[in-house]
Amino acid sequence: MAHLKHPDSRSTIHMEDSIVISHHHYDDRQHVLRLHCPQCASHAVHGQFVHLQCDRSLLLRRPFSIMRARPDEGWIDLLYKEVGQGTMLLAKQAEGSVLNLLGSIGNPFILHEDKPIRILIGGGVGIPPMIFVAETIRQQYPSDTDMTYAFMGSEISFPFTVLNSELPVPGVTAHHAIEDMENISIPSRLASLRYLTGCYRGHVTELAEKFLQTLSPERLQIAEIFSCGPRPMLYATKRLAMKYNIDCQISMEEYMACATGGCAGCNVKITGPDGPAMKRVCVDGPVFDASLVEL
């Protein structure tokens, strides 16, 4: 019998005992967790996630988008908000705690060469993958300093250092930006329905539209949106992309059990050229072409 070639997907997810290096707590039950997990850190790419045992008492792991990875130092950062039992228990984990994780998992955002204007739209805990995408863009295209713009929305305080931006965003008067974006020369602006100083008051998609309105038809043709956030925001983002006829990739979230493609528990409805299909967020996503996703 001829030797069977095993699929390339084998051994692509690493299971390791990560160690909590630091755990910073912000307002409104938001937290930034730094985990030492050298194998995961060395393979992580923008848009991927880890499947983390938040506490030994829980049966299911929880998926978290990776905000940044430092392969040379062997760590990753996660930003999360307490929304349920898993994240509430995770918030109690102190420095030095050992948390088993699976990672890095999923398909990343694709940076198309022919779409050099990149618009990042993140909402709430959908902001972390946008930071990873921004850092990757800056790494891969260090000289494209006026091609990527990031718009972030939140209805609670931003768990980042916020400052007055020195990088202009056409069409936008709000002036507050995230330091992490400013440091890598990516202009960013913030939106909130609350009265937050320096932030655009309204939905983040409205803020992004202010910018899109300034782009010429030629520039719109070479633009692409990258987005992650709550479903209503993703829906609005998809509509925005359709209105301006620009491509849009979104990162989806769903309750998840195995994160390996085994249980089909995290599936979402995708309608492609062959009709509707239920695709696994974990290994078929989490990034999908927004035009195909039923939101």
């Binding site: 051994s11 194998q39 045992q53 059990a257 195995c258």
Partner: protein
């Protein structure tokens, strides 16, 4: 170089030699390759893998959400999403490495005719055995509607028996009055093995939004929460099955070697693992090594010797007035 499993773990199940009594359950490991994504996971650590439930034609399955966490368990309602038997046989089976483990098909249908059609097609395929799922709680037609009625169970099993020479394993529902009677009817209809139990029907509600968490409202509860029920059901079924030498896959909340031993003691020949994988993908290795340690400590020469050796005389007596 991969080291083989301890030879004392070998069991014969429905005439099939398995390298371990640990079987990965249908619906938890997709079509056999998904968990190999995890470095260090090997299909060789499983005695057999039950492939995802397969129907005559492709099914989209249920809408999201399909999962909810419960206390010591999870509720799922996947709804038999699968690409249909033709795609499974033509596109998936040829990609599986049958030198690593045994693969069992898992068959479902809305009608008896659909079961017959799918079983007939798998009969002419490379799978080692065919599991008949007459107990899926997550589809509107067929599934548990058959499994909760002993007459219908027997009819489905008998119809499948007539079209295949491969071993048939019938997966029984715990959501019925007398599982032992159902087992007896399935044995009479020609099943070679029994899988005990499928999930228990359950529900989860979000108090804040006041809606069911599961998109299709109800689902099947699995995990440690159902282990005591599963143990009893295996024990009950074994009282019937042992008279006919019909082996049982004991399943329901197994998450350790100790759990596995308990199921073997009450009558299981093999043990199924599903939900525990989600917490610990290396659970097969853990159970295998734990079983070897158990055999060492208890002076047992083969794991197969454990089946049905529960000691009743020393237990606290229950309602029965046994002589």
């Amino acid at each position: 170089m991969q080291r083989g499993l301890d030879s004392r773990l070998k069991v014969s199940f429905c005439g099939i030699e398995l390298n371990s009594p640990v079987i990965l359950l249908s619906g938890c490991v997709g079509f056999g390759e998904e968990y190999t994504r995890i470095k260090g996971f090997s299909n060789r650590d499983a005695g057999a893998i039950c492939l995802k439930g397969t129907t005559g034609t492709a099914r989209l399955g249920n809408p999201s959400h399909r999962l909810a966490e419960a206390s010591s368990g999870i509720i799922n309602a996947i709804g038999l999403q699968n690409p249909g038997v033709e795609a499974v046989i033509d596109d998936i089976l040829p990609t599986l490495d049958f030198t690593e483990t045994r693969f069992f098909a898992n068959v479902s249908g809305s009608t008896v005719e659909e079961y017959i059609d799918v079983v007939r097609r798998f009969d002419d395929s490379s799978v080692h055995a065919i599991e008949i799922n007459i107990s899926c709680p997550n589809v509107k037609e067929g599934g548990a509607a058959f499994g909760n009625d002993p007459d219908m169970s027997a009819r489905v099993v008998g119809a499948c028996r007539a079209v295949t020479g491969k071993p048939i394993i019938t997966k029984l529902s715990p959501n019925q009055t007398d599982i032992a009677e159902s087992a007896r009817r399935c044995i009479e209809a020609g099943t070679n093995g029994l899988a005990v139990i499928n999930t228990l029907m359950g529900m989860a509600v979000d108090a804040r939004s006041q809606v069911p968490i599961i998109g299709s409202v109800q689902g099947g509860l699995s995990g440690p929460a159902i282990k005591p029920i599963a143990l009893l059901k295996v024990y009950e079924v074994y009282q019937v099955a042992k008279e006919h030498n019909i082996p049982i896959i004991g399943q329901g909340g197994i998450a350790s070697a100790s759990d596995a031993v308990e199921f073997l003691l009450v009558g299981a020949a093999t043990v199924g693992v599903g939900t525990a994988l989600f917490y610990d993908p290396m659970i097969c290795k853990q159970i295998n090594s734990g079983l070897v340690e158990y055999m060492d400590s208890m002076g047992i020469e083969s794991i197969a010797a454990l089946t049905g050796t529960l000691k009743l005389s020393g237990s606290v007596s229950g309602c029965d007035d046994r002589p």
